[in-house]
Amino acid sequence: MVKAAITTPAATNPFIPFPFVVMSRRRETRDTVTLRLRPLRNVRLLAQPGQFMMLSVIGVGEVPISVSGLPRRPGELEHTIRAVGSVTRHLVALRPGDYIGVRGPFGTSWPLQLAHGQDVLLIAGGLGFAPLRSALLSILRERWRYRQVIALYGARSPTDLLYRRDLSRWQQRPDLVLRMTVDHPDQYWRGQVGVVPNLIRQVAAFFEPANTIAMICGPEIMMRFTIRELQKHGVPDEHIFLSLERNMQCAIGLCGHCQLGPFFLCKDGPVLPYSRLAPFSDIREF
């Protein structure tokens, strides 16, 4: 853990992280927290919803993490991180006042402009809600720009739901259709049980497929079935946007790990329309 301030050289070098300090830490679930970060110096790494940063725990390593919120003050960052391995375990253990390194922003963003005047379907599975939360917050901030806004969210169990305060606030909004489902309900669960694609059928009356922009992030299998369901309803492939993840060592198109056919997911993605992915989507292990 880095308790002491980080000083970096003045020379610009894309591999050098900028020092940030943890402002707050909110526990989301057993293994997931949301951190708010503030730059130590006067740097502004301004990320769009859908983009990601490389977060460094110096001495442990660096990993790609999406922005999950909007900055309250310019230059601030919000990230939701699940502890799954060595670097993320350290990130989740950070406390207010701790220092970390940040590079970015990287990659493509959600097509919010394209969605102006359209119906919007945000479909999240599990931790896939993190990158979509920033899109939803941005949409709700300029709600008048969009027609119907529908958010569908699936989690393993009620205790795995992220952003519970947000969810209960959003459920009150008349201008947002929010549906949630879990695989394993507990005795208090009053929402749906089952997989996310099933929710699409239930909200079909709310969106006009030809004029809908869908944004999806979640486990691969969930995205696969979600795409199929959207296609069945007539949403065109060019309007279905996915956020994909793959091993990334540099985030700037140089390390080669995140390739998916012609794409480097760090710079051509992580957000891509399904129309561009379709030729490779059925090729196993591509």
């Binding site: 880095v2 002491a4 301030a5 980080i6 000083t7 970096t8 050289p9 020379a11 070098n13 894309p14 591999f15 050098i16 992280p17 110096i58 001495g59 442990v60 390593g61 660096e62 799954v84 220092y99 390194g101 993840e245 793959r246 091993n247 060592q249 540099c250 700037i252 198109g253 140089l254 390390c255 080669g256 790990h257 390739q259 056919g261 012609p262 480097f264 710079k267 030729p279 490779f280 090729i283 196993r284 292990e285 591509f286």
Partner: protein, 376 residues
């Protein structure tokens, strides 16, 4: 034709001296452990004088020549990326001090290299690395700093490896037209050993002024041209590249992938010897006390399962998928990504594959394309 002069072979020592006097670190071919590799040169005698290499799929052997040629071989297991894109390489170092963590760059003064003996295919490979690491929207500063200073002495291919080279198909050789500072063609006749030297840059012209030389005559040019033409004519291996990217991507589930995967050891030799493979991994290394931390980049290749480790599993577990990544990247997706093939036809991957897998044969079988001039 570029401007050219002729120098006696004995002037090679002066070329080396002129480069050294300009504080270049001169790297060139030398014999080590039964192969011709690239390493620091101090004198002309470090060069592989009188040696040649015999290469076949899965085979490499040095043999004595019956003359004193300096550049009488084709290519060995090393590529110039070793110097331009070194591994391991420390991206930065962090020190824990009472005042906090201080991050410093460690690459303040990278070597200024002079490369002596760059084959046309390898020159093309440097051009490809330029596109990947220097000319894109993102720049690798360590590559750029080395690359921008490097002085290149090309050697046109009068010597080559008939059964592994296929630069003619890739359009990268056996002659380089530009991109070098100087380009040598070794002219070796009984009783006369000289070089035709083409001048590719002002820096090259300046160095050449320190060498005894005379203008190249029409007959010098004719001799040099005949040598490279002979190389092109005798090149046995070929690859049809017209329509190749599309044909490969249309055959991602071809049964031939299973066939080649049954032989492939996924050792990654082909990627390591490839002059354009650029992939790397990054890790943090600490000293025992944890007070000094280095973020280190090391070469990595798509033949390991760890390469695609994501969310608890490798995305390319089968040998088939990893061989397919290598071949389709080199000959198909690289074109979309960087506007050029990722292959220059140097043949290293064929020679150094322990089981002799031949990229040209696999690509032809999978794409269904054959060279027009091959058909009866």
């Amino acid at each position: 034709m570029p401007e050219a002069v002729v120098v006696e072979a004995s002037q090679l020592a002066n070329l080396l001296a002129a480069l050294q006097a300009r504080k270049y670190r001169v790297i060139g071919p030398t014999v080590r452990d039964g192969a011709i590799i690239y390493d620091d040169l101090t004198t002309v005698s470090d060069l592989p004088v009188g040696w040649t290499d015999e290469q076949e799929a899965g085979e490499y052997r040095l043999r004595r020549r019956d003359d004193g040629a300096y550049f009488g071989y084709a290519v060995g297991p090393y590529a110039w990326k070793r110097f331009l894109h070194p591994s391991p390489f420390t991206l930065w170092r962090a020190r824990r001090t009472p005042d906090g963590v201080i991050v410093e760059l460690t690459d303040a003064e990278p070597s200024r290299f002079a490369f002596l003996g760059v084959r046309p295919c390898d020159l093309a490979a440097i051009g490809i690395l330029d596109r990947v690491l220097r000319d894109g929207p993102y720049v690798d500063p360590s590559y750029r700093d080395r690359r921008d200073h490097v002085f290149i002495v090309t050697v046109q291919c009068a010597n080559f490896s008939p059964s592994t080279c296929f630069c003619v198909s890739m359009g990268t050789g056996p002659r380089a037209e530009n991109g070098f500072d100087l380009a040598l063609t070794e002219l070796l006749d009984p009783g006369s050993h000289r070089f035709l030297v083409e001048i590719g840059s002002e820096r090259g012209a300046e160095i050449l002024r320190e060498l005894a030389h005379r203008p190249a005559s029409a007959s010098d040019w004719e001799t040099a041209t005949r040598l490279v033409h002979k190389t092109a004519a005798r090149m046995g291996r070929q690859l049809e590249v017209r329509g190749l990217p599309e044909a490969l991507l249309a055959n991602l589930e071809h049964h031939r992938w299973d066939h080649v995967a049954a032989r492939c050891l996924t050792c990654g030799n082909c990627t390591m010897v490839c002059p354009t493979c650029f992939c790397f991994s990054v890790e943090d290394r600490s000293d025992l006390t944890g007070s000094v931390i280095e973020r280190v980049r090391t070469a990595d290749v798509c033949f390991t399962t760890a390469f695609t480790y994501t969310a608890g599993k490798s995305l390319r577990q089968s040998a088939r998928s990893r061989y397919r990544q290598w071949l389709t990247h080199k000959l198909a997706t690289w074109v979309t990504q960087f506007g050029t093939f990722g292959c220059v036809g140097c043949g290293r991957c064929i020679t150094w594959c322990p089981v002799g897998i031949d990229i040209t044969e696999e690509a032809a079988a999978i794409s269904g394309l054959t060279r027009k001039d091959e058909r009866p």
